[in-house]
Amino acid sequence: MPEAEIVLRLDRISKRFGALKANDAVSLTLRRGEVVALLGENGAGKTTLMNVLFGHYLADAGTIEVFGQPLAPGNPRAALAAGVGMVHQHFALAGNLTVLENIRLGTERLWARGVGAAREKVERLSRDFGLSVHPDARVGRLSVGERQRVEILKALYRDARILILDEPTAVLTPQEAEALFATLRRATGLGLSVIFISHKLHEVMAIADRCVVLRHGRVVGAVDTHATDRGALAALMVGGELSLPRAEARAAGAVLMRVDGVSTPDRGAVPGLKAVTLDLRAGQITGLAGVSGNGQAALAEIIGGLARPASGRLTLRDRPVRDWSPGIALAQGIARIPEDRHHQGTIGDFDLTENAVLETYRSRFSRRGWMNWRAARRFAEAIIKGYDVRCPGPETRIRLLSGGNMQKLILGRALAGGSIREAPEIILANQPVRGLDVGAIAYVQSQLIAARDRGTAVLLISEDLDEIMGLSDIIHVMSQGRLSPGFARGTMTAPELGLWMAGQKFESAHAA
């Protein structure tokens, strides 16, 4: 089969943010009629690469060619004009306008003539590509899947010949996802080329011809999907080349917290927990691997006090938990490192002192309702010093700090404990190193190991298998809200864990 013409060529794109190399000489080619999957974990550099393509970021190095023509850098309109369309994860549609109006919005005047021609074109496109949606329906009344079709139609209407889909199935039900795949197959048959951004392995296997895997900003693999399998892709995605702290094996202590047969309801496309049972032991790091969106958030919310189980129960030091809230969890010695450090972990316009005492202002820094700001400031200074938080001083607004320094403050705050009881007994670390540079990663991980060595129970939730395998004494995998059995350190390989992450092992374990 002769190779089709190359329609898009990204050549050695590099983009750095401070110390973080978001893209490091990333190259990618896309041929006519082809679906290329861009695979990688959160923070691997997928979004940065697309932002460079669309001119939102200026690349530090590298060139882009669309249909053989070089693309002017830093101009958001250039890519659109060259025939590249993008469908974002979050749709940009006006709910009170009709489908047709939304499609024309921004390209032509709504009251100009030519509505008839526009309607014809939309109807023709939706017929050709199997994107059934009524042009006069109000977008606000459409389902999520239908809205996505409108977004795709919008791109096609603007004569896009290259379509970029950013995690398109994240919001879809399985049936809607299947319909989307049918559309994409039809579209490539008509000569459209597609970049499919995802971190879901089975979808990539189902729809993509080739697959480019990004990890820490670098291309770590470019493979034909026919010549590979899920386990190999998972191993590529999570890699194995970085030398980061590794915890030595160590005997575990008593069970501090037990999650006992806990289930939660599904939330849209995100599965709830399915009778999850998990023990957190003193002096042990329990790693929870899995692709995000498989129930980790629900489990973290339950352990952190933000939610209660719909069924099943939680026991803390052998006592069943009755009242449960973030405040109670803190007072019971559970420290949390949240997944979203910008929105959950800190308040951007508060200074470092205020952020340092966000959890303990009542228990440790006030008396009869009066704040002791002097003590709070001393506490913040101690964290800054003890955890090497690089900042001008405790009165700096925390939004001005880098992610790594922000995370160090959160870590210091968490390890100082939430109650009169000094150090925490349980640490819930949810994606603690996501988006950090390597130095900060090593620091945060070594602190978690040190906490374990002091006898703390650590639950480490991560998408990064390297991190999980390097740190955990025992590893569980989450998939579709189900929890795998615990595997002791060193008994599992990355491809084996990959199969559990993909959900295959659950089925075979079930069948057996």
Partner: protein
């Protein structure tokens, strides 16, 4: 054209733009005077003289500022927690009704004033309790509920003044009986119209400032306003904080009604408040929600109103100019604040 955030606005930017906003307000004022056929500079001068030109004028301005300080504080406290209390007007009337009920003979002796102040605050707080519970329990938008309560309250006052609270000796006018002398706030200096309500308003401003900066509740209020998600994650009782904020805000707004009745008017009538509750929003926004700033902006806004009254008599420019000026000042200030945080970029 698009807006791009400025990470660390310079001092020049933070002080220069508000100054520019005030200058722009002056220019608009002169334009309005010109449209009305008067001399622009003379009109501005007359507003200034009318507001600050004599001892009497100054005291009148401070008197007018008193309810605005209270309503401004009420709004500033609530807005700090992103609790959008648009109902200070209704809470003001709740306070005024209670003051009249307790002050027309139901109570006597030296305790009348403190008791009526306290009960007035409770009434104002109670009035805001409904909307805030609807917000925390059912997610009902408090902008709508507090705004609509204003109209309900105005009609309720109208009913009271035509019915149960109507003064039998009032020659048929819709007004209440007058307060007994013990229920009146004394004047700060004999013979001058300024009453103790002004001093209490300043104390209230200092009190709110202390609460916001020195107490755990103040910390919670600011945290909930900045990021409810982070506050909840940190273990703060977000809903309880909102309820406490509402009680404080409603109580402060009610004190405006209390001080107007007990300090100035001596009775309840339908024209007790020419929109002090709404003007309080402008006062609070101009002060960037800072409680001590509220004192300054309340005096500024009061001065525009008092000065415009005087100017109108002398120059024949309609007093509506005062409303337009405060509105323009607010718009310019909001724009100035926005422009300290973002810059306009081409492309």
């Amino acid at each position: 054209m698009r807006l791009e955030p400025v990470a660390n606005p310079s001092t020049a930017r933070r002080l220069g733009l508000p100054a520019l906003a005030i200058a722009a307000t002056m220019v608009v004022a002169m334009g309005l005077a010109l449209l009305a056929g008067a001399s622009p500079l003379a009109t501005l001068g007359q507003i200034a003289v009318g507001a600050l030109g004599s001892k009497l004028a100054i005291l009148e301005t401070l008197n007018r500022a008193t309810p605005l300080i209270f309503t401004g504080l009420a709004v500033a406290v609530a807005f700090r927690a992103k609790l959008w209390n648009i109902g200070a007007e209704a809470q003001l009337y709740a306070g005024a009704i209670v003051t009249v009920l307790l002050g027309t003979g139901a109570l006597g002796g030296p305790l009348v004033l403190p008791v009526s102040a306290l009960v007035a605050m409770l009434a104002g707080a109670a009035l805001l309790l409904g909307p805030v519970l609807l917000k925390t329990r059912l997610g009902v938008d408090e902008v709508v509920t507090t705004l609509l309560l204003n109209f309900i309250m105005l009609l309720f006052v109208s009913y009271l003044l035509e019915g149960p609270m109507k003064d039998p000796m009032g020659m048929g006018w819709p007004k209440s009986q007058a307060l007994i002398p013990e229920a009146r706030l004394p004047r700060i200096v004999d013979g001058l119209r300024l009453h103790w309500g002004f001093a209490l308003a300043i104390l209230a401003a200092i009190g709110v400032w202390v609460i916001q900066t020195r107490t755990a509740l103040g910390f919670e209020i600011r945290a909930v306003g900045q990021s409810p998600e982070a506050a909840r994650f940190a273990g703060m009782p977000v809903n309880a904080v909102l309820v406490k904020t509402a009680l404080l805000s409603g109580g402060l707004a009610a004190l405006a009604g209390w001080s107007e009745v007990a300090g100035l008017k001596g009775l309840l009538s339908q024209d007790l408040s020419p929109g002090f509750g709404y003007t309080g929003i402008i006062v609070a926004m101009l002060a960037l929600l800072h409680p001590l700033g509220v004192v300054v902006t309340a005096v500024f806004v009061a001065g525009i109103f008092v000065g415009s009254d005087a100017m109108s008599r002398a120059a024949g420019v309609p007093t509506y100019i005062a409303d337009m000026l405060t509105a323009v000042a607010l718009l310019c200030m909001v724009l100035a604040i926005l422009l300290t945080k973002v810059r306009v970029v081409r492309g």
